[in-house]
Symmetry: C2
Amino acid sequence: MNKLKMVPLQNVRIQDSFWDRYLGLVKEVLIPYQWDILNDRLEDVETSHCIKNFKIAAGLESGEFYGAVFQDSDLAKWIEAASYSLAVYPDKDLENTIDEVIDLIEAAQQEDGYINTYFTIHDKSLRFTNLQEGHELYCAGHFMEAAVAYYRATGKDKLVCIMKRFADLICEEFSSAKNSKGYPGHQEVEIGLYKMYEVTGEVKYLKQAKMFLDRRGEQPNYFLEEAKRPGFKRIFDEFKNYDPAYSQSHLPVREQKTAEGHAVRAVYMYSAMADVGAEYDDGTLVAACKRLWDNMVKRRMYITGSIGSSGLLERFTTDYDLPNGSNYSETCASIGLALFGRRMARITRESKYYDVVERALYNTVLSGIAMDGKSFFYVNPLEVWPDHCIPRTSKEHIKPVRQKWFGVACCPPNIARTLASLGEYIYFAEEDAIWVNLFISNKAKFTVNNQELTLDMQTNFPYEGHTRIELKGKAFVKGKIYLRIPDYVKDYKILVDGGVIDSPQITGGYCVLELEMDQRTIDIHFDLTPRFVRANPLVKENIGKVAVMKGPLVYCMEEVDNESNLPAYYIDTSSKLLEYYDKELLGGTVVIKCEGKKVTQEGWDVNQLYSEQKITSEQKMLTFIPYPYWGNRKTGEMLVWVKEML
Amino acid sequence: MNKLKMVPLQNVRIQDSFWDRYLGLVKEVLIPYQWDILNDRLEDVETSHCIKNFKIAAGLESGEFYGAVFQDSDLAKWIEAASYSLAVYPDKDLENTIDEVIDLIEAAQQEDGYINTYFTIHDKSLRFTNLQEGHELYCAGHFMEAAVAYYRATGKDKLVCIMKRFADLICEEFSSAKNSKGYPGHQEVEIGLYKMYEVTGEVKYLKQAKMFLDRRGEQPNYFLEEAKRPGFKRIFDEFKNYDPAYSQSHLPVREQKTAEGHAVRAVYMYSAMADVGAEYDDGTLVAACKRLWDNMVKRRMYITGSIGSSGLLERFTTDYDLPNGSNYSETCASIGLALFGRRMARITRESKYYDVVERALYNTVLSGIAMDGKSFFYVNPLEVWPDHCIPRTSKEHIKPVRQKWFGVACCPPNIARTLASLGEYIYFAEEDAIWVNLFISNKAKFTVNNQELTLDMQTNFPYEGHTRIELKGKAFVKGKIYLRIPDYVKDYKILVDGGVIDSPQITGGYCVLELEMDQRTIDIHFDLTPRFVRANPLVKENIGKVAVMKGPLVYCMEEVDNESNLPAYYIDTSSKLLEYYDKELLGGTVVIKCEGKKVTQEGWDVNQLYSEQKITSEQKMLTFIPYPYWGNRKTGEMLVWVKEML
């Protein structure tokens, strides 16, 4: 399939009023802070032991493995993030640090290419014997992604060579009689193998990725069989009654119609299906991707672009089951959703995929990280009552305050690598065209019709609807620009060199501009007036409620701007949503206000639980801030879906 | 303290239009059906193995223990229920069956008096070494209750003698150096020991019950210490990080101010505190009971008289945290709440306790059992969407359909013993007075001022507000009748021999009638007009919603009487609640209807999850049936708290 191409990260330099605060954190805070954590240099966070595990596995230090079975992946994601940062901001010290840790990885690599500190330290004989829980392939996939990222950033191929040796071992192991039916318990290596194929041209990696997908869901179920083998050693007690749907191995992937099981596993797998499907021109695989995407985003996705309705097992449940206060909505799952959507947009050239990518990036990915870059949400609820978030209850997974670091620390480094690679999300390229997906101020280099040119995008999106794109340096020699028209934009205007395009040509949700040589400036005006959004009445949780959005940003009420007991507020949707930019608040943001009322405590005392007492209410102004910014001030209640005065 | 006295079960014969359908089940269905289950004679229910365990422990059969560590208690509760039934309906065959099983218990009793098949079969050396999980004392308590019930029903004291030997062993064991600080992980033996004290007069049992309560919550925590001992053998994996609050051992019982931890453990403990507190005239213990009661029923109780807001650990959470669709609200916890409330009413002579007892009995206790007596709810949600109740999700504990029998089968036999002893809930007695707590048609024998007399109560409560009490046989020689005036009755009228009592004397919520010798008939007229009830706006879940009640009965909407998507309904609280008796429906019940509207799907298709589409609605008539009857027809949605048109 003729996929749209990615634009190298080096070619895109972001400088944006909305994103800079986060991107600045990557280099200044996230990368050094997480490096300190991996090295256990910080005192008041959970022990990582990640680097130490590698030193022990390499025989450089003695000791026991510590951490989760997938602890190695934290290092991989850190290298990947640091590499993306290096691609944009060269930094010799950081590069040296990475080179050193690559040496350590090499030292921990076994003779035959194997890398995994858990099994190397614990018991080498158990390698690849517990695929459902072992996470060796998951960690391998992340190291492959890291290797490719570092190679693309620096041109250095040492980690790629290390990972080639491991990839070769994996190809051998999973073709051998011993493991001829095995596939990963947590998908990720398929993505890594595909990237390794991209940079090395080694087709067997592509084939291995496809093989893993093809085997998945075969009967009898591999994981159930594996667990019956003599010597099988369980790692997680709670996996005793393993449900194949948890890891999307309940059905062959091509036959899956609904998004099931652990949400992160699911979207990583779908991403790999898109990679492999496009490469093999495999219509049934791509069709399955489309079907699963539709089921997910049209029936099982939160308005914030998050997925996983059940706290237990971090999983999908069923259509329209979207509880706001007990959901999982893992940050990593939204990252995976964005990765999947980006792939689908490249394959299909349809903007609807990017509507979701943008939704995930602007809301749940960002809410995952505090504004100081030092604390993180795993779980992203849509309403929070801090005093109800009690350990050892059904709401124990909901945290009203971001946490410094987690024992299972997948989200923080995942956010880091996503922010560091934001430049990869803005554009796609073709020989004769540039595709604009996101509206973020940046300067970018392209080659269109063999002509190098520079594009300068300036915008205050999502707070203001005007984006200007200027072609600088050499001019365009007949080329096309595709501009994504977001699904939430009801009214827009596009001007080329000051002239309005009267009947813009729209294809797949993108506006196509065929530019002549002398045309240099494009002005895009989107109507980003704040709006009331409702959920399908089949979503039981949200009947009679509305959410407030502006562009892709979901807004929420916080106790600190309003009063406590947020569910007592009703919003008057017949009145106007008022917006203003408050430069002091939360580092500068657009605040939205609206008239409404609040149910009072009049007639009730604290000792009266039920009564025939009628409800009274009083007029109130409701204040909303962007959802990604919640929890950055005083701990308190938060609410996305507000009752509507009907 | 001068507690009100219980009226022996033998003296109360119920024949009541509301309750007969359930009481009939006890003798005809529950007792024989559960006996078959205990003996593993039914094929399509979970294996019990209970009787078999006793046979193995007695050396009569060989085999392994099977079932939960507290499996023995099922037999104890069955004997207790069967004994209550025998007290009212003598039955030689049943009595023989019980005598035989008592012989079996005796055969399984160890030399030193110990009875517990789990430890006897598994490893006798582990007896009393794991009090937090072992449940030996819990089972002992239930067997003590059974022994007392059988003795009171039949006068036969064999089981009492057996349990005296065990009680003696417990007193010895828990005075010995080895276990001088121990107390039960699941409270219940305190209740049993108190009853043993009542029938045997043996003060050491009372002292032991008090000692268990006194020790509870001492520092260092016994359970945490116990788990550190060499040889400690864990039974439940999930108890690894034991939280003392789970078993109310976080604080000395007299210092506890809020209802914490596992709800059933809590109310069993509070019941024992009331028993012991009254017996010792222990003001601080009774004050603690009052405080815990108030916290529970004024801040942490569902409108259905159920408790335990968290599915995880079946526990209390915090004030006003009352989610409707993910709660636990165990049937057994409501049974315990009723037991506690009955004790508090006897101590305080205040009717407010019985308002809760009645609420629990009429709603959650009854909803726990199907109308055919063969299936049961453990968990009693206030709203159910069957397709969201998915195993391995946060809602896995919610069942939309009653289950035949459970692996952990505490609720079914607990319901059986509660229904079989309903006669004990109606009255209290004093030398010169009769106290009327519940309005259930029955004939009862009393001795007032040394004069035997018969009381005949006739009522169609809770459907009709008129209750007639007639004194039959010998007349009253100056005595008092206390009539409970329920908290929900706004308007009432009491007549004695046809004459209206103008200014009835009310004390502690009871209307006191001082009857003369010739006065024989009391007519009570309660206004039981259906009503709208709201929750305190601090209950976030219920803001903007109302429940419909009639007398103590909570009503609910079921899909079968309405349409699917019940949360889309709004009720018009300015219109009247219409009621009528439908003799065909659910064995005959009062149905309530009300005007309202329903949000429609107009403008939405199934693939549209979020949109700016406005909500449309259409006029609808809403139909309600009593909450205890839900789930007895076609499986479907159920809803208690309905949105209010504001």
